[in-house]
Assembly symmetry: C2
Homo-oligomer: 347 residues x 2
């Protein structure tokens, strides 16, 4: 299946299917015709080999969100230079969000802009991180504070690579899937209630379609449309950031953030309590956490202040499948949400 | 005088004149209407104060080409975050190419793209570095190897700030002025022969017009037009880079590079010997060096290989005011040029 991301001169395609990574060489030749060599960026643990069909060298970046730093980007750029990569060549990222964010930002910066391709191996990357051109690194002051909008030339989502994904990472990816259901597709949302994910192919394809449509409509997050993808992310990022990265996976922090956003949506914009409980039950059915017992409130407050999405912009859902942005969230609201997510739902 | 840079949605203006930096507050309010605070980036030695007309904090970067590094960009972004700069605010760079390259790249990266304005204080910045959106830093492997195309919202070229410029820096700026004459304007070129620069205002305005027109025509250096601005820069950058930065000013290295490019133009594309000698005499009249006695040839060879302009692309001038790009330059040609620029012209 090919899902296009319609961005005019920056249009590209997402290949979704079993074994589609083996089409990389042919597709690269078509999409980046000037490339004579490829810099493959991956992690030691990924273990997915790709053949770009041209002279290539593999560069590994460290594991974990902590690897998303400017020194790692500099290291990549320096190695690209020594490898002899020119601005007409191509960077191929193979991995999850950490790899695609790093390789994408390095490609954006190297020679002030070099083509790159994402081969997304985990679920989270396939449905979210690899699509849309957001690249970047974290600063000690906040997540993704330095980066670039730099669209890939191609995204490959090979369903085969999901077979060996640890269950915890699969669940973390499902957090973003649940999010797509909440913000854009009630039928998708309802289909997730049982926790049955045997038809991952259909799930990935539908999420890619939603993401592609939103990105095409609001590439640089200026109209508010792309911001709706941040449902659950305002508090989720702050929790993830305050945890010092690594304790909670991104998707796990977002799950907790979505629970908070659901309750806030009930309070502020009339989301029904039934829907709130459906959201909680669906996240739980996917094996995702709904609370974190020892939140560092001072750090979370600081992270909220520095989050570029802004403490003043929350995505709320008046009903499943529809969102609104609001700035009407007080410090008291945040305190109440932190109280809420400190304990599990009463079941 | 206002010179527009016609880039459609990214159109902006260059203000040229005596005291125009005092128009900054009013112009900022018009050009970046959403900005609520300004991060002013400058160097200790610049000493030019500006009033952005909104809450502001000053951040200084180190002097010299060596400051153009990713750690300095990271430091700026971190300080922007602590200052509370949001993506709707503005960065104001006050200084020369080092400052505008650094602040521009930090602005490009911060929140994946924040507005910035250049207040160019030296001649080199006013006629070249501040205009056109090329931002970036050096890597040990080469000059400007990491960066971004990120257009400013406004460029201010206040002629008053040239009054206190050290003569050596003024001369270095004149190297780029001579370049504009060679590549695009025979009348400008001839006017520089005496070394009289009493009408700097007219000189700055004319160079800004040329730069603006070239950038508008080829923003991302893809058609070959913008590449013509690199006359003298292929070897000049390599000499500057091999020198470890700091021994020669950028304009001084470019002067030597232009002498080489002039001779190569004679050899390859028929530039008259008279014109070659006029170029040498004009550079000398501006107080610029024409040779460097102790060139590190191994380092220059390496720098040429890694220069993103490529050893394979040289800008040559068949006559004053016209350029061609050529890939037809051999290692032997480079050796001959290095022999040439190791000694002064026989006068």
């Amino acid at each position: 299946v090919i899902v296009p991301v319609e961005l005019g001169a920056r249009r590209y395609e997402v290949l979704v299917g079993d074994g589609v990574r083996h089409e990389l060489a042919a597709t690269l030749a078509a999409e980046v015709p000037g490339a004579g060599r490829a810099a493959i960026v991956t992690q030691a643990g990924i273990g997915v080999e790709v053949d770009p069909g041209m002279p290539a060298e593999v560069f590994t970046v460290p594991d974990g969100e902590g690897a998303k730093s400017l020194p790692v980007v500099e290291d990549l750029c320096r190695k690209f230079a020594v490898f002899g990569l020119s601005r007409s060549d191509v960077v191929v990222a193979v991995g999850g969000g950490v790899v695609t964010d790093l390789a994408g930002f390095a490609a954006a910066s190297f020679h002030r802009g070099t083509a790159y391709v994402n081969v997304a191996t985990p679920l989270l990357g396939q449905v979210d991180a690899a699509i849309g051109g957001k690249t970047g690194v974290n600063l000690p002051e906040g997540k993704n504070l330095a980066g670039a909008f730099h669209q890939p030339r191609l995204v490959v989502a090979d369903l085969d690579t999901l077979d060996t994904l640890p269950l915890r990472e699969l669940a973390a990816g499902m957090a973003e899937v649940v999010k797509y259901g909440i913000i854009a597709d009630p039928a998708l949302f309802r289909s997730l209630r049982t926790g049955d994910v045997s038809d991952l192919g259909a799930i990935v394809r539908r999420c890619v379609e939603i993401k592609a449509e939103v990105v095409a409509d609001d590439e640089r997050e200026t109209t508010g449309r792309r911001a709706t993808l941040n449902f659950g992310h305002t508090l989720g990022h702050a929790i993830e950031n305050a945890g010092g990265y690594g304790k909670l996976l991104h998707g796990e922090a977002i799950s907790i953030g979505m629970r908070a956003a659901a309750h806030l949506s009930h309070k502020k914009v009339g989301l029904s309590l039934d829907a709130v409980h459906e959201i909680e039950a669906t996240l739980a059915a996917q094996g995702l956490p709904l609370h974190a017992p020892d939140l560092d409130r001072a750090k979370i407050g600081q992270a909220l202040k520095l989050d570029k999405k802004g403490a003043n912009q929350w995505v709320l859902a008046p009903e499943i499948g529809r969102t609104v942005l609001t700035g009407d969230v007080t410090a008291g609201d945040v305190e109440a949400l932190l109280d809420l997510v400190s304990t599990p739902p009463a079941s």
